[in-house]
Symmetry: C2
Subunit: 236 residues, 2 copies
């Protein structure tokens, strides 16, 4: 039976900070934990969004590619979709999204996902080209990001919210990716304005946090020397 109460997370945000970018789960195995998700590829090879069981990559050029089973992921979230209607909104900007959700319901201490479907007046996304070994740090990568600007885009925003207590393991607050219905744009969301459409909500009771314990680079790394919060603030 599909467990719709659990958010699966492979890897942690913190391991991206020092550049531990080796893919440690294959898409085929990642998809065993859900049909809906976000993530990045090995070497930060693009931004991923998984909708209805199909895994898409938005690569450094902004192309939207369907991913094969053997593509690997260092960090990502996945769950089995069971969204409930939450609210309809008119002309919502990204800056107003937290208040639109958290102001309506006490959710700041839970893991949850929201899905926005409708039209966005402007949509600003980013992606990154695959990096080579020795991998750069997250801060170095985000300085090399490619930004894509869209107007009047119909599509889906898939967003995960993690309680601030878990910042570093997860992205504290909202972490949102986009895919246009016509596949003309996607990626990690930097900003959007003028969203009109519906917001759906799925609240999780459990986080299934998987760590890449068979990866020696991960197990041997000394995280105490990394400025995890600072790097995350810079990159997200």
């Amino acid at each position: 039976m599909k467990d719709t109460n659990t958010l699966f997370q492979h890897g942690t945000l913190a391991l991206l900070v020092p550049g531990l970018l080796t893919g440690t789960i294959k898409i085929a195995d990642f998809l065993k934990h859900g049909d809906t998700g976000i993530g990045t590829g090995e070497g930060l090879d693009g931004e991923l969004i998984i909708l209805d069981g199909v895994a898409y990559q938005i690569d450094g050029d902004g192309n939207v590619n369907e991913l094969g089973d053997d593509f690997t992921v260092p960090f990502g979230n996945m769950h089995f979709a069971d969204y409930k209607p939450f609210k309809s909104v008119d002309n919502l900007d990204l800056a107003g999204m937290p208040e639109a959700v958290l102001g309506a319901k006490s959710l700041a201490n839970a893991f949850f996902s929201i899905k926005l479907t409708g039209e966005f007046k402007t949509m600003k996304t980013r992606s990154v080209f695959k990096q080579s070994k020795p991998y750069p740090t997250l801060a170095e990568c985000s300085d090399k990001q490619h930004v894509f600007d869209g107007e009047n885009k119909k599509g889906t925003v898939l967003s995960y919210f993690s309680p601030q207590l878990f910042n570093g393991a997860a992205v504290g607050g909202f972490h949102s990716h986009f895919l246009a219905d016509d596949k003309s744009q996607g990626g990690h969301i930097l900003d959007f304005t003028g969203f009109t459409g519906k917001i759906e909500l799925q609240v999780f009771s459990n986080l299934d946090q998987q760590l890449p314990i068979d990866n020696a680079e991960y197990m041997d790394h000394d995280f105490s020397k990394d400025d995890i919060e600072g790097a995350i603030e810079h990159a997200e």
Copy 2:
């Protein structure tokens, strides 16, 4: 099939800090997630240790009681035991335990459990009487702890290690409870000296973090005002 790769955690250490001490999982449900574990009762009603599927409470007087199915827990860890031999030690003190384990193997970035069985020259444990509503904070409770000193105690130390990244959600580092073979002593370990016996190890790939999302006090609480790290340092 029993999943021996997953450490289950109900609640977070952080919710104890402001005194969110309502029991939000029954022992009967907690035991569905394993046969081995530690925790505390509603209102910090003693220190718990679960061995071979039996849940014991060390109450504020130091008595060891078997718990019924309806006893409730605000925070605890549980897993299905599948320990592997790790090392035999002679005359080990608690202060030397981290080096004895982490110095032998790269484990600081994983969740794992160790089980020490043998004899302890001295064993210092603590427990707390059940607190009443309005519940005190964790710092106030630990000032009221009862300390028990044992000598030449045969028994079991059950310890969970969580990566520092998860401090606040879990207890970063080691979190250890004790039960004497003859049930003459138990509780949360403050110190031990002169342990001679065997250490067994079980490493987890996954943390199944369950949050009490049906508890309104938890969901409505503003954790941003709590000094979580300071209170944990004081209490643990």
